[in-house]
Symmetry: C2
Subunit: 249 residues, 2 copies
């Protein structure tokens, strides 16, 4: 019996990832317009070296420049067992370089959840913006955007259906009081920090955007684990809505 | 302000992991005896090639033989922000090879949560058992054990304090009904499947051990994400106990 709850995905391929996938065709990715409520997650990243932002990092040393952190966040944000979260967009805001990398689940193709494969896709996406030759598989869900957190907040808050109000901003923070479920149900944009948290400027920016704070765990966890918990809260909220909408016999 | 909730750890080192850590001294690890309630997690793994069980896999192709899966489980089981879960033991039962790898948080030293570094530690631990020369950093939390799931269940169920009854077995399963918190509070041993779930023989073994089933998510998730959610349930249960034990003013 296949137990999907506990299984691991291979999306669109078998064992070896980047090399095999390189021979396939991929669509050029661009973030999809807001429709029925995407899950937008912004990770605010600091101290990103120029070489990382230009895609000149080594795949066999991902902790250098904390590319491993970026890759883990991508894996946590997008992958489920044997599939990807099509409704999710992850925004990696590389603050020191005023650049944002987006991984859009709706356009992701042929990915494997290991850190090296995800880092290779990021590296290609970044390098093409800095003179490297584009390949057919350059994008596969990833896209490059100028500007950091401020640009993303402005852009994402404007992406809302006419029938709804502005999207709330939810900052995951150890001092949070808001419950995650309540705000997520309203289509909130989630903002997480990296190992350095948030600068005072980022805190001020989030406060001016009316961000509320929510806590996901009584313990200090990895950013990628916080993403898993945030998804879980949303999944449970959706499951409850689904149950409530089911006919009662 | 450092926000530990959202931060990423570097345990005992800075950026580059395996290479730098290789020059440090590490204790030879062996699983600690059961004392005040360790968190024991068993991941039942299938189709592990001989080359993986003998530590002859390549670090630049971890999806081959699903070493990436093992590494992600290790990262999810052990790491918190800026620290490790000292009370946790992860048992990777490589069923096809009748071998078990253990990562013991109480003896883990100088690790970084990236997949390659964790895989390198596994590779050394496995290779030493198959003729490779031991190095000072071979173990750092990892140990090698003959036998698979059956051996581990027998061993772990015997490790209990005199004052408590036998440790319950909790199988994470999509058809689970038990609540995770209730059983975890009783010092349960958690058993998770890999991408292939459980064989009929493993299901029978778990049933004969009186395993109860629990579900952690309404969606099918990666094994490593299920570990994050299981830890979270335990963390919240512990936090509640802590709150209940606090004096009320």
């Amino acid at each position: 019996m296949l137990v999907t709850l506990l299984s691991l995905p291979i999306v669109g391929g078998s064992t070896r990832a980047a090399d095999r996938l390189a021979s396939r065709g991929f669509e050029r990715a661009s973030p999809a317009p807001f429709a029925s409520g995407p899950r937008d997650l912004i990770v605010v990243c600091h101290r990103t070296p120029v070489k990382v932002a230009q895609g000149r990092f080594r795949l066999d040393n991902l902790p250098d420049g904390r590319v491993d952190l970026l890759a883990r966040c991508a894996s946590a944000a997008i992958f489920t067992s044997h599939g990807v979260r099509r409704e999710t967009r992850l925004w990696l805001a590389l603050q020191d370089q005023s650049v944002c990398l987006c991984l859009d689940g709706s356009t992701a193709r042929g990915m494997h959840p290991d850190e090296r494969t995800l880092a290779a896709a990021m590296k290609r996406t970044l390098a093409v913006e800095h003179g490297a030759t584009s390949r057919a598989d350059t994008a596969n869900g990833w896209s490059y955007h100028a500007g950091g957190l401020e640009h993303r907040l402005r852009e994402l808050r404007q992406q809302r259906p006419v029938s709804r109000g502005p999207r709330p901003i939810l900052q995951l923070h150890e001092d949070g009081e808001a419950t995650l479920q309540a705000l997520l149900a309203a289509g909130a944009v989630l903002v997480l920090g990296d190992q350095l948290g948030f600068t005072s400027g980022e805190e001020a920016l989030l406060a001016s955007a009316g961000a509320r704070r929510a806590t996901v765990s009584p313990r200090g966890l990895l950013t990628s684990h916080c993403i898993v918990l945030a998804h879980h809260a949303l999944d449970e909220a959706e499951a409850r809505v689904g149950l409530a909408a089911s006919p009662v016999e």
